[in-house]
């Protein structure tokens, strides 16, 4: 039987050489692709609690730059129950262009009760199915956050209290991943909106006010997306 030390002495140097060659080829490939094809689009996850307006924002961005929507919008919580991606969204700002993949994610929560759907005139069977899909969607969103996004747009409803446990945890998780993050204070078209309350809650991050529904302040939104994720 071959010992570990035998294995290392016979195959180690060859593996190192192969590793160096592979690394060199990979570096050349990366340099070539960046020279001739530009860098890969960054995947920007749109996160936040349910009903913050994530899909409305994702649709606004997608429509403005590609002409297509990402998914249906609704006032019913957990309408988005699967992460949806719009690839190669090219945003042009100040003579430069930034290409991103927009990932619209289900609203994150720590609880889902199918009875909440019944309040929106949804039949029990449908409510149970929706709640099951919602739980899968939240788990999927958390997985994306740990593994598959390069930056985060965190959307909050500016009419709601931002000091919630879900917001605290999500921002902590995003920060622990060292991901660039922009806070979007959505729904500023509503009278009771308070952008300042959100700025105060997240002083360590930039807060951008907007109304995704009305298209208010979208110029600044796109400037910031280009600045942070370009």
């Amino acid at each position: 039987m071959q010992s570990d030390s035998d294995f290392e002495s016979k195959s180690g140097p060859r593996e190192d050489e192969m590793g160096l060659l592979t690394e060199l080829k990979s570096s050349i490939s990366r340099a070539t692709s960046s020279l001739f094809a530009g860098s890969e689009p960054k995947r920007i996850g749109i996160y936040g609690p349910p009903n913050a307006g994530k899909t409305t924002l994702a649709n606004r961005i997608a429509r403005d730059w590609t002409g297509d929507a990402i998914g249906p919008e609704s006032h019913v919580p957990h309408e988005t129950r699967r992460a949806r991606r719009k690839e190669n969204v090219e945003i042009k700002r100040n003579g430069k262009s930034v290409t991103i993949d927009v990932v619209d994610t289900p609203g994150v929560t720590t609880k889902v009760d199918y009875k909440e759907f019944l309040e929106h005139d949804i039949e029990k069977d449908d409510a149970v199915r929706r709640s099951r899909e919602a739980t899968e969607g939240v788990a999927e969103a958390m997985h994306w956050l740990r593994e598959d996004v390069d930056g985060v747009i965190y959307v909050l409803d500016a009419t709601e209290d931002p000091f919630t446990q879900v917001n605290t945890m999500l921002i902590g998780i995003i920060e622990s991943q060292d991901l660039p993050v922009l806070i979007f204070a959505n729904k500023i078209d509503l009278e009771e909106a308070s952008v300042q309350r959100i700025s105060n809650a997240f002083p360590q991050h930039e807060t951008v006010p907007l109304s995704a529904l009305e298209g208010d302040n979208m110029d600044e939104v796109y400037d910031k997306i280009a600045e942070y994720f370009g």
Binding site: K111, M169, Q204
Partner: protein, 133 residues
Amino acid sequence: MPEITTDDDGEGLGDGIQIDMISAERMQDMRTMEKIRLILDGVHDGNIVILEEGLEPEEESKLIEVTMSEINPDGFTGIEIETYPGGDGGDSGFLGRLMGKDEPNKLTVIGPANRIETLHKDETLISTLITRT
């Protein structure tokens, strides 16, 4: 280390609600999934779990993910979780500390979503209403 158990298997507790206060020492050598199971097993039994020292962000992320996978329309509806930062008198300010990261020793309260409701939270007080099912 002894397991956390309910002496009478949850029977005969009458109107009582079990509260498990778990020390940092008990958690320190556990892997992420061991911590999550310790928490969720208690919550599934209807207990309120209080952690002397909260979870890391990565562990909180996994806790949400596992919680979602265990929600059942006929029973478990998820968790309520509340944390406040440790009062170390740091210079980051109340708001920064409340929403910030890297706060060690943050006491954390976790319970079944249908039994625990947060009434008030600030930097020094978490006030919750615990109800019987």
